[in-house]
Amino acid sequence: MTPLTKPDRKVICRIQLAGEGRWVRLALSLGGLASVSCFLVRSEPLLYEMAGVDERARGYGFSNWQGGVISGARYAFRALKVPIQQVCLHELRGQLNSGDVWVVSSAAALAVARLLARPVEFPLNLNGWTIEERVSQPPSAEGVSESGKADSSPPEPRKEGAENNSLLSGNTGTGGTQDLPVKPEVADRPPD
């Protein structure tokens, strides 16, 4: 019998947040507990293409945006009371203001919760930005490298619904901190 999926292939969660004409998309997977000495690693290849909207953000580099990923991921582990695992960053793209690092952080927190197959039972700031998410196996070796060509426009919502893929859209309304009304649809997860 030929397995359809290599056993070592990780599940990747891709989260996109969009609002006020700006957007970010990131994709994360989790590593094992044993490899947690380094909290955040980059996948090879890494799809990275961040465009700053304002002057300050145009001066931001990977380290600045990466700070948001670390913040959000560590928060999700802590809030869910789950032992920290290594987080692997596969994709980070978007167009954001300098004040939007929180958006990256929120996307990372959402992605970690989904990868842990846990509902988002912790407060998270979304300020009315819309969420799209997708949990999938990584693509075969056709990724774009860090300096590669990537479409810089926000992708259209995808409509496909494979068994292991989920795609949710939701506007969480305006305001500050809020509990998310979205439900994760990761395989093998009991209903809320």
């Binding site: 670390i70 920290i84 998270l124």
Partner: protein, 123 residues
């Protein structure tokens, strides 16, 4: 040991104000999960995770003030430190910065014991 002042890497916008619930560490703080930032004068400031969900370190001192250490800390009762680490996307301090934080916390009344977990993460 010379101290390293870390400028903010994640979210270095100087317009962020200090969070009104940011506090100097003291043994009187209620138990719970906090983020901490140690300022360049050695004072450790903490903010409960619930007060600023997710992205939090940038508002512990505010105004893009630099730090000598930053991370997460879990407090028990009466100033007991249950766990501390150097995880901060905002400051991304090196593991040895934790030594500075431990000194500052002890000076401010924290209690460490053999059960305290000290976790270092490469920056």
């Amino acid at each position: 040991m010379p101290l390293t002042a870390y400028a903010l890497v994640g979210d270095p916008d100087p317009n962020h104000r200090r969070h009104r619930e940011s506090r100097r560490f003291s043994p009187d703080l209620p138990a719970g999960d906090y983020v901490f930032v140690q300022d360049v004068f050695g004072v450790v400031h903490v903010l409960h995770q619930d007060q600023q969900p997710g992205h939090a370190h940038h508002v512990v001192l505010g105004r893009a003030r630099p730090a000598v250490s930053a991370g997460e800390v879990i407090l028990g009762e009466s100033g007991a430190i249950l766990e501390i680490n150097n995880l901060s996307g905002t400051f991304q301090c090196s593991p040895d910065s934790l030594l500075v934080a431990l000194g500052g916390l002890v000076r401010q009344g924290a209690i460490f014991n053999t059960d305290t977990q000290i976790r270092e993460f490469p920056s």
